[in-house]
Amino acid sequence: MDTVAILQNQAKILRQDIIQMIATAASGHPGGSLSAIDIITALYFKVLRHRPLEPEWSDRDRFILSKGHAAPALYAALARTGYFPVEQLATFRKLGSPLQGHPEKGKLAGAEASTGSLGQGISIGAGIALASRLDQKDYRAYVLMGDGESNEGQIWEAALFAAQYKIDHLTVILDRNRQQLDGWTKDILDTDSLAEKWRAFQWHVIEIDGHNMEAILSAFHDAQTVSGKPTIIIAHTTKGKGVSFMENNLEFHGMAPNAEQTQLALQELSA
């Protein structure tokens, strides 16, 4: 199999992990985890230079899940790349587990920041990329944020800052699934014309289909060749992608599937 087919297959496994994890925990955010998982799969299985058995390796690329509610997607990727045993995914959201409801640095090897309070990830990633530059290293910061998260003022503070300091080792991926907790993004705070906004902030902007593995890989490759400015990949995605009854269904922003729905979802994903 070629790389793309391998990654597509891997993403399918991770989608099943996400459903299983949230069903077992009986709480969590399936919609935004499923919309982001193709991107996260590409990162962890192909793009990131990381050592799962040496999570503190100082030259590693850092990935920050700024939209921390998609924690199941991150945890599935960490487990499947060998940071911790896959069986541990069943402890998600349970007392004493390193797999907190939203990722916490210090509790889980591989969690590079404590996120969940939206808006902070890009700034943290900018700091990481600046440290890389100061030490004349080559490691990069990748930050995945949501489109609802674009409501946060700090995002735009960070957008100005990263452009001002020409932080080219910072790549942001915007999971543009067009929905946030209370509804469609356009009905809450209209975040249309995001590409124009980021271009106006002097970022290198790439727009892709966030479920097209080939496009995802090519966008990351493109980002690595850009110098003198940060890159944002606007990835057009579908909330709940891969499970028919979750797709574009707002109910599954932050609701776990019941037993019957879980079985249906797993059936669809293993087909």
Partner: protein, 320 residues
């Protein structure tokens, strides 16, 4: 020590901070600094001038600044992030909470122009709640130096210590309370004067006012000890409890709201360990206003005479 009125005028603690940061920068390349367009006021500009590549002006965007510092710290840098205390704690509290305190990152945050002594700029710039907010952050160490000597020493100790630290500095020049070369420890209060009737526990600029008050009290036949509580968290419980045992009455003095700062924290320790008559001097549930530091201290109850008045009150409770 000398009589308080004879102490030489020293530098402002913000100037001491700027000089200490520059010296640290020369010793350790891991030291970096970020500021929010107030580097001329916080005095991080001294560092910026010498180390332009290790200084990042974040503009008037405090939330981003604190999270950038967290990112730098997560890669082994020792970032010092400075701006006015009010903006640092109030505008970037959530970033201090989730980017810094939750993972316990090695970020040092420095709030200048604290309290009301910055004066004429008025309530929006004054910071009367920063100590309460900083002390509410788990894993944070909270420092409030009283003069240039203790400020420099505590900035150095903060740089050596691994973990998040808040350092509170002030705008006006302050009398030099300590001699050059004096050593300090984070979490260990300094007993400046022995006393037998009452102990005045003060922090920041109020340490000097407490020293003056203790001399007025001496003239009235009252023996008042003075403690400089430069570390609000972790608090030197042993020093507070032993002061309560030795003198049986406590007055706390702070340039901060009475709620959540030094007075509240000392009261909590005493109530749990050694119930002792206590009166707190501080700002009473209000914002202040424009005016010189001197007239503001007078209006908002922070002068040596206010401390003397509070001491007389607490001595009445003690004798009951």
């Amino acid at each position: 020590m000398k009589s308080a009125r004879e102490l030489p005028m020293g530098k402002a603690t913000r100037d001491a901070y700027g000089e200490a940061l520059l010296a640290l920068g020369k010793e350790d390349s891991r030291i970096v600094a970020v500021d929010a367009d107030l580097s001329k006021s916080t005095k991080s500009n001294l560092f910026a001038k010498h180390f332009p590549d290790r200084f990042f002006n974040c503009g008037i965007a405090e939330a981003n600044m604190v999270s950038v510092a967290a990112g730098l710290a997560s890669c082994g840098k020792i970032p010092f992030a400075s701006t006015f205390a009010s903006f640092l704690l109030c505008k970037s509290f959530d970033q201090l909470r989730m980017s810094v305190a939750n993972p316990g990152l090695n970020v040092k945050v420095v709030g200048s122009h604290s309290g009301i002594s910055l004066g004429e700029d008025g309530a929006s710039q004054q910071s009367v709640e920063d100590l309460a907010l900083a002390c509410a952050l788990p894993k944070f160490t909270v420092l409030s130096p009283s003069d240039e000597i203790s400020c420099k020493a505590l900035v150095n100790l903060a740089a050596q210590y691994v973990g998040p630290v808040y350092i509170r500095t002030c705008r006006p020049k302050t009398p030099q309370i300590y001699s050059t070369g004096k050593t300090f420890q984070i979490g260990t209060a300094e007993k400046l004067r022995e006393g037998s009737d009452v102990t005045l526990i003060a922090t920041g600029l109020m340490v000097y006012n407490a020293l003056v008050a203790s001399e007025i009290l001496q003239g009235n036949g009252i023996s008042a000890g003075v403690i400089d509580l430069h570390t609000l968290k972790p608090m030197d419980e042993a020093a507070i409890i032993s002061a309560a045992s030795e003198t049986g009455a406590i007055v706390t003095v702070e340039e901060h709201l009475l709620s959540g700062g030094l007075g509240s924290r000392v009261a909590h320790i005493l109530a749990e360990n050694k119930p002792t008559p206590l009166v707190s001097v501080g700002i009473k549930d209000t914002y202040a206003e424009s005016g010189s530091a001197e007239v503001l201290f007078e209006k908002y109850g922070l002068t040596p005479e206010h401390i003397v008045f509070a001491t007389n009150q607490v001595l009445k409770h003690k004798s009951r």
